[in-house]
Symmetry: C2
Subunit: 446 residues, 2 copies
């Protein structure tokens, strides 16, 4: 790993590590559970993502001489801890849902079983990445759902909060099956189609719109999408038709036009009519500009003749749910379940399993030690890392994760795919888990 | 630069580059202007940031063999463009406001004067970083303002959308003078104090709270801050007092306690009384948990005895303004001003300067070629890069930027420091700029 990635930790992970070491507790077996406390507004479910990057980080976790020197400069950590960190590798087990799995509040997306020092050290990075990628994947899946079969393209790199978010958005765009991304680095890294048209500045750089269109079409021929709204969209469509005719005279059919402002539905209708009348029924219409899943759904419902949606800011930072309320909580230590009881922040104790009824009638949150709640239930958490190394299940490709997501989404009850969050999925607490929680509460009150 | 950073571009930057090359237009002199269109809710001003990273990217921009091979795999760009990119360096000029400068809508944060191919290629990265860091710096400055002299610490790394956002938040925390960051990598990289206490999991890992506190205090002595709300906050404070007494018996005074849940104001009052009564008036009270600038301001206004605020999610993703509506627009080409006229997306034409009245009575947005609007006005945009190399003004350290921010903020009219966005700063359009815009509109309509 680029060494400094190991330093992507909150300071207290290191001071706590030092205290565990000092007390001889560093090796105590612990389990931490990472889950979402509550669904954000408008969401009925979440798409779990980020697990592959988390396994990568754990597998490569190490502090080189430069990182140790940096930690020494903090002037806070003991020599003994620095020596321990210099030789540290992650040796634990991770149980996680496969990426692309649909999850609900309080269900672990992953659990880490490891010596407490190691499991604690992973907290910051795991929360950072699972929160980011699960939030992004959920929004991308909603946009795809809203588009009802039309293409959705990630145009968000300029709007993502930083470059890591831009790359991870391209990754989850691949996971949930968007049609492409404008992010060149992301397309190359994650094997997604790279997609793009032209900017208004390109049109402005020429003496007139038609010349700009000609210059682009001359080079990109059948991959040409002309941006028609720099000056006046209806005139822009006429200019596009002129250039499409010239191309056809050379035996080339252009790909389409893009509208990036104004009343997208009305402009798309007018453009479709003009294009059809001019003999270009196959020229596609791409729209963009301030779109989110709700705007896409309205355009689709209105019957607007739109073939593809380019989505920017709202894929990166959906207004109603810019983030997720995730938690990474100690649930077991030395085989003893534990539970935090701060007001509003209670968590379920113990190592867990999530069982999903095959007919989607319920999920059951249970202790890992319990038998299946019924024959029709399948377990969601699988071992993806053992003794610090990925298992077979932990080496799934992005293409495999995409197939898993697609099959999950296809069988998801329609109510849970709604964009208004009205659908609710029952997550039942198993009797044994409820009893464990009660026992801890009673012990605390006693 | 890590080579792949050059690929952090939208595909259309590259296809447009290819078309410019093909038309022999790649070297045409162009100016792009990066600005914020509108203030988000609650904001009366913005703190410009991200310029240093942008200059870094421009200075190091290059496509190595691996990146060229990647671009070739797209199957879209011409051999000639790939050869051009293989030898490309940024050779342009950047004029920018110094980092930490207060800016308003439509005022350029920076302008790029460069051959159009280069200036266009920079669009995605420049928007990504200036948007991110200006949004983060503005929110951090508001939190600091709300705390009215009490310490504010960045606890957000686990909540930032990705690791780049986490690092850049630590950077702007340094820029606006927060007291520290929990992000170890960020603290080391940007020279900020690293800060942290302990997690609830630490307390839970011991047989009881008092033992957990003892273990931590034994190691960190006067830097110990005890987290008192894992089970019951009032009992937690009593346990903290027990351990503080034991430390005092060894000649050590602990640093403080932290409360992370519940009614923070009421709990802080009760804790202060208990600590004072027990003879620990210097033990500090840190609070955290769901805080934003408004909650901080309410706690401060209520007179709650709080010494420091740890802020997480809302520093990273403030609910009312998760992002900024930035634009990077072509404003001049071949010395000819241009202006986009799409509805709702108009921009001001021409290379610009922003003049600020020393008494903060107004800003004036003007053409760069205009003389000062008056003796009492100072120009904000300065040349930070020339011919692709930083100027002296482009090599300011983070410490210098922090001093600049502090002096700007100190002289900022109180109305503009309000948290409700009620203050408005007049930004006047110079007569020459207004005339240039009118002339373009007339030419378009003719």
């Amino acid at each position: 790993m680029p060494g400094s990635e190991a330093l992507l930790v909150d300071l207290y992970e290191l001071t706590m590590a030092d205290a565990y070491r000092r007390q001889g507790l560093a090796e105590r077996p612990a389990t931490f559970s990472l889950f979402v406390r509550e669904l954000p507004p408008g969401r009925s479910c979440l798409v779990a993502a980020g697990i592959d990057d988390v396994l990568d980080w754990l597998e490569r976790l190490s502090f080189g001489p430069e990182e140790i020197a940096g930690l020494e400069r903090l002037g806070l950590l003991s020599r003994e801890l620095l020596e321990l960190l210099a030789g540290l590798r992650f040796t634990g087990t991770v149980r996680a849902v496969p990426e692309g799995t649909i999850v609900f509040p309080n269900e672990p997306i992953l659990e880490v079983d490891a010596p407490i020092l190691q499991a604690q050290l992973a907290e910051t990075y795991l929360l950072n990445q699972i929160t980011l990628q699960t939030a992004l994947a959920t929004t991308a899946a909603r946009c795809r759902e809203a588009a009802a079969g039309r293409a959705v393209v990630d145009f968000a790199l300029r709007r993502t909060p930083g470059t890591d978010a831009g790359m991870k958005l391209a990754r989850v765009a691949g996971l949930v099956g968007l049609a492409g991304t404008s992010n060149v680095a992301g397309a190359l890294r994650y094997g997604l189609p790279a997609s793009g048209t032209m900017a208004h500045s390109f049109v402005q750089a020429f003496a007139n719109e038609t010349d700009a269109f000609r210059a682009y079409a001359a080079l990109f021929g059948p991959r040409t999408v002309l941006l028609v709204d720099t000056y006046d969209t209806r005139q822009g469509v006429e200019h596009a038709i002129t250039v499409a005719r010239e191309a056809r005279a050379r035996g080339v059919e252009l790909a389409g036009i893009r509208i990036d402002s104004g009343d997208l539905g009305a402009l798309a209708r007018a453009a479709r009519e003009a294009l059809d009348a001019a003999g270009f029924p196959n020229l596609q219409i791409v729209v963009s500009g301030g779109l989110d899943e709700h705007a896409i759904a309205r355009l689709v419902a209105s019957g607007a003749p739109i073939d593809a949606f380019g989505v920017g800011a709202s894929l990166a930072l959906p207004r109603e749910a810019p983030s997720l309320d995730t938690a990474y909580k100690l649930v077991e230590i030395d085989g003893r379940p534990v539970r935090k009881t701060s007001p509003g922040k209670e968590s379920w104790p113990g190592r867990k399993q999530v069982w999903r009824a095959r007919d989607w009638s319920e999920d059951v949150l249970a202790l890992a030690s319990e038998p299946p709640p019924g024959a029709g239930h399948v377990p969601l958490l699988v071992e993806v890392m053992r003794d610090g190394r990925r298992t077979e299940a932990g080496r799934r490709t992005l293409a495999e994760a995409r197939a898993h997501f697609a099959s999950q989404w296809a069988e998801l009850p329609a109510a849970l795919r709604r964009l208004d969050g009205a659908g609710k999925h029952p997550v039942r607490i198993s009797p044994a888990l409820a009893a464990a929680a009660r026992a801890l509460a009673a012990a605390r009150d006693a």
